[in-house]
């Protein structure tokens, strides 16, 4: 049960990572690599720090 739950979470994580590659490809014409990195980490981190989970 726990093992299956862990694998399921890993699949969700890998899917999110893969979808992020497609979204990055979509944005690559509108933003430079540093802007995309800031969007992905700084804004992402900030939103979690402000969320009830952060």
């Amino acid at each position: 049960m726990t093992e299956g739950f862990g694998v399921a979470i890993a699949i969700v994580s890998s899917s999110l990572g893969g979808s992020a590659a497609a979204v990055t490809r979509y944005l690559v014409g509108a933003a430079d690599p540093i802007t995309l990195a800031i969007l992905r980490w700084v804004i992402g981190l900030r939103s979690y720090c402000l969320s009830p989970y952060g």
Binding site: T2, E3, G4, F5, G6, V7, I9, A10, I11, V12, S13, S14, S15, L16, G17, G18, S19, A20, A21, A22, V23, T24, R25, Y26, L27, V28, A30, A31, D32, P33, I34, T35, L36, A37, I38, L39, R40, W41, V42, I43, G44, L45, S47, Y48, C49, G54
Partner: protein, 246 residues
Amino acid sequence: MPVALWLNVRWPQGWDRPAVAALGVCFFGLFFILYNIALGFTTAARASLALSTLPLQTMLAGALLGLEKLTFRKSLGVAIAMIGVFAALASGLSSAPPGAWRGELIMVGAVLCMAVYNVLSRPFIQRSSALGFLAVGMGSGALALLIVGAFTGSMSVMRAFNSHEWIAGLYLGASGGALAFVLWVLALQHASPTRVANTMTVNPIAAATLAAILVGEPITFNLVFGLLAVFSGIWISTTEAKPALP
């Protein structure tokens, strides 16, 4: 960071602090800049295929740094995956964007950067705590990106985004970064590293599927072949052969 402060976790001490900060800049800053540069040259599916070799490159980096023994089985898995990915990417070059090989080469460099981060992290985590290590690393990486972004005018680029680009950007921040990373760490707490590593092959599948919808990238047979090679390589490397019955 707030959770780490609230839980009063053990932080990296002394000279570990700048080392952990440097590792954070390497992964949370440099890796993602290289990743984004790579995606400027090649398709999402091809880049993700190169990225999915991470567990194998981590093994290779561990062996090169003398921290992990590379057994015959592990070497075989690494070889199968690498040859498969190389064959898949090379055979599909005609249908890839011009100069795609540059992006894939940069992505391999980025993955090596992440592999070294994975290998070198362990002693620092053992001397402090996983959460303290992550908080210092993520904070340093984010700070470095903001400083570089301020000098290069990257922050002002976002002002020109239209509504679709903002939605895509917010999705990237909300789920592609911290959430995916937190879920990965959570998965490692519940399942064996072997099984978790095997799910890396889902990454190119998701990338290819969404990229086909978002930017009309083709899903070709050579990518499916490469994916099978990566899955086989990870499976062989991360599973032990059953001992022969007496």
